[in-house]
């Protein structure tokens, strides 16, 4: 390769390295802020003030959903800690037990008061017949 081309290659390589280095430094320093939500363990550890609106995410614990009128109560878990949640309103179609959930709301007196609920689904796609068979196995 011609010397002048080698120089250009090195120059652009340096520009690339320096800029990506900068971006990754920013990302690492922002690491936890870039998370969309707290997990139950993180939230309990972080000692959230009741006036802060936060996002809490995890799995809806199996057998924990209890509906009373328009209110829904359930436990959200990250399989280490669990937090009781109360929500008033219509839950999304994919909100169900043993399924992911992200909530926006306030944590006070040991209960998470959710104002909005988003369902988080997994990466599996299959016809309903197959999923029944899988459960049988």
């Amino acid at each position: 390769m011609l010397q002048v081309r080698k120089n250009r290659l090195w120059k652009i390589f340096t520009i690339f390295l320096v800029s990506s280095g900068g971006v990754f430094l920013i990302l690492f320093s922002l690491n936890s802020t870039l998370d969309l939500f707290y997990t139950p363990s993180e939230m309990l550890e972080a000692d959230i003030k009741p006036e802060y609106r936060i996002k809490l995410g995890g799995m809806v614990k199996n057998g924990s959903i209890k509906r009373k009128g328009t209110a829904t109560n359930f436990l959200v878990t990250d399989f280490v800690k669990e937090v009781p949640v109360t929500f008033n309103g219509v839950t999304p179609d994919l909100f169900k037990e043993d399924s992911g959930v992200v909530m926006l709301g306030y944590y006070l007196d040991g209960i998470f008061k959710a104002e909005e609920i988003f369902a988080k689904h997994d990466e599996n796609y299959m016809p309903p017949e197959l999923s029944f068979e899988e459960e049988k196995i």
Binding site: L36, D93, L94, E123, Y125, M126, P127
Partner: protein, 221 residues
């Protein structure tokens, strides 16, 4: 070459989409709304692939000063912006019935939005110089700098907690049932050919525009 590629692209894409939207079975958790996957996943794949293509061109332009490479960047960027917009738009609409929200600042969605802004930024940067050679070179540098966003998009669902689920297709296999995966793969191939033919058109337009005073263009037209 162009009409054949366009024909292959449109035909394959139509087979994939009709198969996916009308013949593939319903999903066990999302029902019918998952049928947006046959548009959303191919669009997202090419939103990133076009950027990879542009970065190879940028390297060729910077190191070897290949003029054509810069022309290709300039003609591919609008297509990249278009397909990234489609990926964001289809994802937003898909989010309404499945997640219960059309927009969240989660890492995957935000990094894809940054990709869209990169495409627009590349076009704006090039348009803001009257010295076209200089514009080509600075645009190529910006393309190279933006490459860092691609691994971030890919890894965002693993590095941070996101509303977006992790990848369904990877080198280790797929968590999509074959009856849905087949039309998805066909749609990816179809959209690929369609976008390549759009790219041929777009680069023809740009080269004509750029070289309109050259002798060979007069003879060609």
């Amino acid at each position: 070459m162009y009409p054949y590629l366009l024909f292959i692209g449109i035909t394959t894409l139509m087979i994939g989409w009709i198969w996916g939207v009308l013949y593939a079975p319903e999903d066990f958790q999302q029902g019918n709304s998952y049928r947006i996957i046959f548009l959303h996943v191919p669009a997202s794949i090419f939103a990133q692939t076009i950027y990879y293509f542009m970065s190879i061109c940028a390297l060729m332009h910077i190191v070897w000063r290949v003029k054509l490479a810069a022309y290709l960047i300039k003609s591919a960027a609008p297509i990249g912006a278009m397909i990234t917009f489609i990926a964001l738009f289809s994802g937003s609409i898909w989010g309404i019935p499945t997640w219960g929200t059309w927009w969240q600042w989660d890492a995957r969605i935000t990094s894809t939005l940054i990709l869209f802004i990169m495409y627009l930024g590349i076009l704006t940067l090039h348009g803001s110089f009257s010295n076209l050679e200089k514009a080509d070179r600075l645009m190529s540098i910006l393309v190279i700098v933006g490459v860092v966003n691609l691994p971030i998009i890919k890894k965002s669902v693993d590095w941070w907690s996101t509303l977006h689920q992790p990848a369904s297709i990877s080198t280790s296999g797929s968590s999509i049932d074959p009856s849905m995966l087949m039309p998805l793969l066909i749609s990816i191939v179809g959209l690929g050919f369609t976008l390549i033919s759009l790219g041929i058109l777009s680069s023809r337009l740009y080269i004509l525009n750029r070289e309109k005073n050259k002798k060979w263009v007069l003879e060609h037209v």
